[in-house]
């Protein structure tokens, strides 16, 4: 693999591959694709149970906390293999929330939440964005006021994906209204079945569901506020750091591209094999070059994480690059498949299982979501190259 893996890394990759060969089949891949954000189906639950049986849900945990102590490169190998196989990713509950609780929670909080997460009793949605606070997280308005031993939460979250299937919400709320914008935010856990929580579905273009979630005088115990008051903005950044490995991964684009290539190999149009068409050959070759390039940006993120860096510029590069590349894959792919490429996943015989037109609809979100690519490029300039802010 890339830049020659170490023997330990190679063994790990082979172990992951073996696991995938054993546990990922077409039924799982189809279920994953067709379910979208509608929660785990039986196949995904089986897969997750198998992962858990190996302790791989704690892949990002240090050994002393019962984890596998995998390096970032090893985690990236894991993500890359899962994405390439089209299996469901590990939920953010395991990869983002749990490692954050591990680091910021009190002993009591860790004892309360981590075992429940591990047993699969708790599943989080991540509630950061609001309609007026998208990329500009620090402007959020949902607030929590202390009332005796309880926090009372009021406000509204947008793009609260999985809120309708999760048991709990990992919520960024304003607890210190008088502090400067960045310093007034805390992270709090809100059970989705708490009185006053209501979920309103939002359907988005690629056929996925997300949610607006309303909090109307929702009371949660005082120690559901995680870590310290007013540090929520930094905790969210920490959680983001755990996500960096997957944000910039080209795995999904590559999987769809590879499937497209396989389709083109067999496709005949107007009596001619499509693979002989010079335009098709050129466009696919160029995309392959870009995919090869993008992949290594993700690897750099992993390597920098292993060095103890916060690879802000590197992960911004990977994110901006991969999201825009996904759009080109979709765009060209649709044109290559022609009329057949319009077919939805549900239509039998849809080439590449309808993935190209789906990616065409999904790809804008990859670029504006998770911090718009404008913000990513600002970060590259500021953090990567030390450009002045004013």
């Amino acid at each position: 693999m890339d830049y020659e893996l170490s023997p330990r890394e190679r063994a790990w990759r082979d172990e992951v591959r073996g696991f995938i060969a054993e546990h990922v089949d077409e039924r799982l891949v189809d279920e994953t694709r067709l379910r979208g954000n509608e929660g785990r189906g039986p196949e995904a639950q089986r897969f997750l149970d198998a992962l858990r049986a190996r302790g791989w849900d704690r892949i990002a945990f240090p050994v002393e906390s019962g984890g596998l102590g995998k390096t970032a490169v090893e985690q990236w190998l894991f993500i890359d293999q899962i994405e390439t196989a089209g299996a469901p990713m590990l939920p953010l509950t395991f990869t983002s929330v749990a490692p954050t609780i591990l680091r910021i929670g009190t002993d009591q909080q860790r004892q309360e939440w981590l075992p429940r997460i591990q047993r699969g009793e708790v599943d989080f949605a991540l509630g950061y964005s609001e309609s007026e606070a998208g990329t500009d997280l620090a402007s959020l308005r949902t607030r929590a006021n202390l009332d005796g031993d309880h926090w009372v939460v009021n406000g509204q979250k947008m793009w609260n994906t999985m809120a309708h299937t999760a048991t709990h919400n990992w919520l960024a709320v304003r607890t210190e209204p008088d502090a400067p914008k960045h310093k007034g935010i805390s992270m709090i856990i809100v059970p989705m079945d708490a009185p006053g929580v209501s979920v309103q579905p939002i359907q988005v273009w690629p056929g996925l569901r997300t949610n607006a979630v309303f909090f109307d005088n929702v009371r949660v115990p005082r120690d559901y506020l995680m870590g310290e008051r007013g540090l929520g903005f930094y905790y969210a950044a920490m959680a983001l750091n755990f996500e960096r490995l997957s944000i910039g991964s080209a795995g999904m684009a590559r999987r769809i591209f590879d499937a497209l290539v396989r389709d083109v190999r067999e496709r005949v149009v107007d009596g001619q094999p499509l693979r002989e068409n010079p335009w098709v050959r050129d466009r696919l070759a160029r995309l392959r070059v870009e995919l090869d390039a993008a992949r290594l940006l993700a690897l750099e993120v992993a390597i920098r994480l292993d060095k103890g860096e916060v690879p802000a510029a590197a992960s911004s590069m990977a994110k901006a690059c991969v999201s825009e590349l996904a759009q080109r894959v979709a765009d060209t792919g649709c044109e290559i498949l022609g009329l057949d490429g319009q077919l939805h996943a549900e239509e039998p015989g849809a080439p590449v299982k309808g993935r190209l037109q789906w990616l065409y609809r999904l790809s804008p979100m990859l670029a504006f979501g998770g911090g718009t690519n404008e913000v990513q490029r600002d970060i590259i300039g500021f953090m990567g190259y030390g450009l002045p802010r004013k």
Binding site: G134, V204, V269, W279, L339, H344, E346, Y360, R361, P364
Partner: protein, 366 residues
């Protein structure tokens, strides 16, 4: 005429455009678009009736048949504005079908009913695995009065009364494609609806000894017929681009992030500028191609360049529009995604770049 054809429509054209804008603002609401989408038919009878009564479907049909005898240019103005207002795609398909029939057979006995809006036509051209007319396999049956074959991705197939079916050359009296007009409700026509992207109802249609109402020759004008069909798509695409840009301008002037309108950010401004450059040049190429197609004065690559540039620009502009809209433009209730679906769907069907680039290269190099 020159550029004024585009920058300054005639007063009749402007009048028509205004009527379309008002109609679409009033009748083509987002709630209805969602409802039509749910229906699967992409349109309901009431709006279809209303559009037919306005005479839009018959605009380019011969006066002798009850049409308005308008030019391709007039029709393009209409189509651009309809697309801008997200008029349901099946209606644009019917307009396209009516013109397709009239261009082949201005004397067709069916045209009067089509002009009155009583009957509608759709085009059945592509076949599974065969996009080039030379590869079509649908053909006349041995009895010489019916046809056999399968057509793919026929838009509005289940609703259109008449199918204008392209036949393969193989069986051919002529070296140019021949067409058969088929009664959709007649025997031997079976329609298999498809779940497809693009917000227009599509179906595979099998014709099994389907009786032919009329035989029509493509004749030597067939290449021109094809170009005119593509020209309608160019007008649609220009309208869609204009709408995507309008929506984006309104949004970036309104939306705030980090304490200021996002239009203040230079990166946003420059993306708007790039949308503008592509839109302006694409619109010019489209209108140049349409007006020269009408006047029979197409230059070397006028048509092909327009097809490539308009087709790619519409997709690109929609993508930037989505990007600048962020989540707000991504919900199914936002009109933008209808334009974006049309961008890709129109491109796949009418403006794939590969054959045009090949033709441009051949013009220059062979």
């Amino acid at each position: 005429m020159r550029l004024e054809v585009q920058l300054e429509p005639t007063s009749e054209q402007e009048e028509m455009r205004r009527a379309v804008r008002e109609f679409c603002t009033r009748e083509v609401t987002i709630e209805r678009l969602l409802e039509w989408e749910r229906l699967g038919s992409g349109v309901d009878a009431r709006i279809a009736q209303a559009v037919a009564e306005l005479g839009w479907i018959g605009l380019g049909l011969p006066v002798a048949k009850g049409g308005s005898g308008a030019s391709l240019l007039d029709v393009a103005h209409l189509v651009e504005e309809c697309a801008r207002g997200l008029l349901p795609r099946p209606l644009l398909s019917r307009l396209r079908g009516a013109l397709g029939l009239a261009w082949l057979a201005p004397e067709s006995p069916q045209l009067a009913a089509v002009a009155r809006g009583e009957r509608s036509v759709t085009l059945a051209l592509d076949e599974p695995d065969a996009r080039s007319p030379a590869a079509w396999r649908t053909a006349a049956a041995p009895d010489g009065r019916s046809i056999n074959g399968v057509k793919g991705y026929v838009v509005d197939a289940a609703a259109a009364d008449l199918h204008l079916v392209g036949l393969g050359r193989a069986e051919g009296l002529s070296n140019e494609p021949r067409f058969a007009l088929i009664d959709r409700g007649g025997p031997g026509v079976s329609i298999e609806p498809l779940l497809a992207f693009g917000n227009d109802p599509q179906a595979h249609v099998t014709y099994r000894d389907a009786p032919v109402l009329e035989w029509l020759d493509g004749g030597p004008g067939f290449a021109d017929w094809q170009r005119r069909q593509v020209a309608l798509a160019l007008a649609e695409m220009v309208g869609g681009m204009a709408a995507a840009i309008d929506a984006t301008l309104a949004w970036v002037k309104e939306r705030e992030q980090f304490g200021q309108k996002i239009a203040i950010f230079q990166a946003v401004r420059h993306q708007v500028a790039d949308m503008g450059i592509r839109f302006t040049s694409a619109r010019h190429l489209a209108w140049q191609a349409i007006s020269r197609l009408q006047s029979g004065s197409l230059g070397e690559t006028d048509f092909e360049s327009a097809v490539v540039w308009v087709g790619q620009s519409f997709k690109q502009i929609c993508w930037t529009a989505h990007h600048l809209h962020g989540g707000a433009g991504f919900v199914v209730e936002h009109p933008l995604r209808f334009h974006s679906e049309r961008a890709q769907s129109l491109c796949i069907r009418w403006t794939p770049e590969a054959p045009m680039l090949a033709r441009i290269a051949a013009t220059m190099l062979d």
